[in-house]
């Protein structure tokens, strides 16, 4: 009886606990602390890579301070992307007269920090930091272009086209994207044509101006570009039988392709990097009250926002548009072109001769490695290095700020204990680390290798993200930042492959293997299994003939002659 009475109180107490728990759980509470996911987003946003300059660190610090007011970095990360802290673009008006930064005084330094959404490869927004006595921060979004008036690049005031070009130039400098497809018909219209003219394709091409041989990293900031707008328009007067109806499908009438469709290209030379910082902002899209939203499409909570691009009060600017006006054409560059350009460019002749010299028997018979590097921004720009009998491996130092490796060649000579007839795991990890530190430009970089065993190779980086992903553990395990789960996965995968191919007692690639064909075969398997994101080439002692070599779907070695 006593037991039954106690049981009753016990169940009542349990019911009370359950009710309390349910009430507390379901109650809509003011968010006093950021959810764990938000905290991680903020941490990720503010994670700085090594070699970050003091000015960029100040930008990150100011954002961190501002974020403590309203937690706006979560919104910015979700809607606008993460900061590419390793890709800042500095425009110091005091340094070069060729930099035209509107409304900037001579003492101003302006730094652009591109923002990129996860799993994308183009600039979605950017932070503009202006340094004088203090730091002023503004945020611009690509989708806001439609809130500006449409016009031409020659207009004296800020318009949608200038806004778009700003982003295209950042894409060009950040990712190397040079070609863009215009998605909004209102952008980059040819003013010389009637407004009713039907256009089937409009593209923009960006390149450094021909005379601007000094680029970022060379010690100067030269911001001169040729911006060429191309459009293919219907010329209805040429062949009425075919073209009376605007909107005829391309290819529906062969005459249209050759007679009625006229391609025009207009190029403008611009030195204005800051096309949107003249203090005028289009209206609309929210206020300092409740507003904003958009972007990721999943935000239901109202977000406070600023009517201007200013970030200084800890609020994100209100979104003013949601439509993509243009997108980069992401056709990957042909890896063959990269390696051939490096080998045949007249400006690289002295370097390539030194690469050839490394392949001579004299150098290959040495008991230690030698290397030669081509470095952008350094004087002299060719640096040779050598290992020693006691320490055979050659060293590749990190470079001072403003310098980047364009190409590196080294040897695998007749070292004691054998030598790999192909790139070693350590070669790959060190080069990936330099890329991670911003010390080699993945888009154009070429690594050359000549070996004592008579094999000669080159590789280019085809997919920077894949290359970094494989070595994620190497880049982040000892440094602040990075995602722990990703580190574990990367570590497990890399250690398993490293053991299988390079370290096990029965490893597939060894320093003592003299069968170059077998080593190449297994290295290609490693590349495929690791999903390394690099392209391998066989070459000769003259480094003037290249054959792309890879494994096809069936595991057969496939060769493609680049010449």
């Amino acid at each position: 009886m006593q037991k039954t009475h106690l049981q009753k109180w016990y169940y009542l107490f349990l019911l009370f606990l359950l009710t309390t728990f349910t009430f507390v759980s379901c109650r809509k509470m003011d968010r006093l602390v950021a959810p764990a996911g938000d905290y991680e987003l903020t941490e990720k946003f503010l994670t700085l890579p090594p070699m970050t300059t003091p000015q960029v660190k100040r930008i990150a610090q100011k954002l961190k301070t501002l974020n403590e007011k309203h937690g706006f970095l979560t919104t910015i990360a979700k809607q606008n992307g993460f900061a590419m802290w390793d890709k800042p673009i500095t425009s110091n008006t005091a340094k070069s007269k060729k930099v035209a930064a509107r409304s900037a005084t001579a003492s101003d330094t302006i730094i652009f920090i591109p923002l990129v959404l996860e799993n994308t490869q183009y600039v979605n927004a950017f932070i503009l930091a202006r340094f004088n006595d203090s730091i002023s921060l503004k945020l611009y979004r690509a989708n806001d272009y439609s809130s500006y008036s449409f016009g031409t690049l020659e207009d004296s005031t800020t318009n949608a086209e200038k806004f778009a070009i700003q982003f295209m130039l950042l894409d060009f400098e950040t990712f190397g994207h040079a070609n863009f497809k215009v998605l909004d018909d209102r952008l980059f219209k040819d003013e010389s044509l009637p407004t009713t003219t039907h256009t089937k394709a409009r593209k923009v091409h960006v390149k450094h101006h021909q005379s601007s041989n000094l680029r970022r990293g060379s010690g100067f900031e030269i911001w001169e570009y040729d911006v060429c707008t191309s459009s293919t328009n219907l010329k209805c007067s040429a062949n009425t039988a075919c073209c009376t109806q605007a909107g005829v499908s391309p290819g529906a009438c062969s005459a249209c392709e050759q007679v009625c469709w006229i391609a025009t290209t207009t190029c403008v030379r611009t030195s204005i990097m800051v096309a949107v910082d003249d203090g005028w902002y289009p209206s609309g899209g929210g206020s300092t009250g409740e507003g904003g939203g958009g972007g990721d499409g999943g935000t239901t909570e109202p977000t406070q926002c600023n009517p201007t691009p200013l970030l200084d009060n800890g609020l994100p600017p209100c979104p003013k548009g949601s439509k993509d006006g243009w997108l980069p054409t992401l056709s990957p560059p042909n890896p063959c072109d990269k390696v051939k350009t490096m080998a045949t460019d007249a400006g690289n002749a002295v370097y390539i001769q030194k690469v050839k010299d490394l392949a001579t028997a004299q150098n290959q018979n040495l008991g230690y490695e030698k290397s030669v590097s081509l470095i952008d921004g350094a004087t002299p720009n060719i640096v040779e290095a050598s290992g020693t009998t006691a320490s055979a491996y050659v060293t590749l130092p990190s470079l001072p700020s403003g310098q980047q490796y364009k190409s590196i060649a080294h040897t695998h000579p007749n070292t004691a204990g054998g030598t790999y007839s192909i790139f070693s795991y350590g070669d790959l990890s060190r080069l990936c680390e330099l890329m991670f530190e911003g010390q080699l430009e993945a888009g154009t970089f070429v690594a050359f290798l000549s070996t004592y065993k008579g094999a000669h190779y080159a590789f280019t980086i085809t997919d920077k993200t894949k290359f970094e992903d494989f070595f994620y553990y190497f880049l982040y395990s000892g440094r602040p930042g990075g995602d722990n789960v990703k580190k574990f996965h990367s570590l497990n995968k890399a250690m398993a492959l490293r053991a299988k191919y390079f370290l096990n007692e029965n490893a597939l690639i060894t320093e003592t293997d003299t069968d170059n064909t077998n080593v190449l075969d297994k290295f290609l398997d490693f590349m495929k299994e690791a999903d390394l994101g690099i392209t391998l080439f066989e070459t000769n002692t003259n480094f003037d003939s290249f054959t792309k070599v890879e494994k096809d779907q069936t595991g057969t070695v496939k060769r493609t002659n680049c010449n």
Partner: protein
């Protein structure tokens, strides 16, 4: 009922316990030099071995008085520890080729926080091994060498011993 569950648990766990006991490499290994003791802990995985290392100071009685370094520590800028710093495939003829991440070194401001190197481990007296208890202490030749390939000249030297013989405990 409780006894039955205990018996079942023991039946399930026994093969795993036996497997650990029957492995030549898995376990704790020590190397002592004066008051310094270098300890390596290896455990079996599906595809080979993982492990950690540490160095401690001991008194005359062999009791630990301090920790000099321990690889089982948080990863850079994190509160999460390294899952392992020694990793290898399976042994072949009493030898294992492994990777060691020497994470108890210090470097410059841009140092990645650890050294990645090759580790060779070889049982030098495999005749001592017996599945139900070794007939004499197993000894392990431990050799650490730089990874082949392009080097970072600012990398520090190893903190771990590079050529020693460890004894299984």
């Amino acid at each position: 009922m409780k006894n039955l569950a205990l018996i079942l648990a023991l039946i399930i766990a026994t093969p795993a316990i036996c497997q650990i006991q029957h492995d030549m490499f898995a376990g704790s290994w020590k190397y002592q030099n004066g008051n310094e003791v270098f300890i390596v802990d290896l455990w079996k995985t599906v595809d080979g071995y993982n492990g950690h290392y540490r160095k401690i100071m001991v008194d005359a009685s062999g009791n630990q008085v301090s920790v000099v370094f321990d690889s089982n520590k948080p990863m850079g800028g994190s509160t999460t520890n390294w899952p392992y710093v020694i990793s290898s495939g399976n042994a072949v003829q009493n030898k294992v080729g492994a990777t060691i991440h020497d994470n108890t070194v210090s470097g410059g401001p841009n140092f990645r926080g650890f050294l990645e190197a090759k580790l060779k481990m070889q049982i030098i007296n495999p005749g001592c091994y017996a599945p139900r208890g070794n007939t004499c202490p197993l000894q392990l030749q431990w050799t650490v060498t730089k990874d082949a390939g392009l080097q970072d000249p600012s990398d520090p030297g190893f903190s771990v011993p590079t050529n020693i013989i460890l004894t299984k405990q």
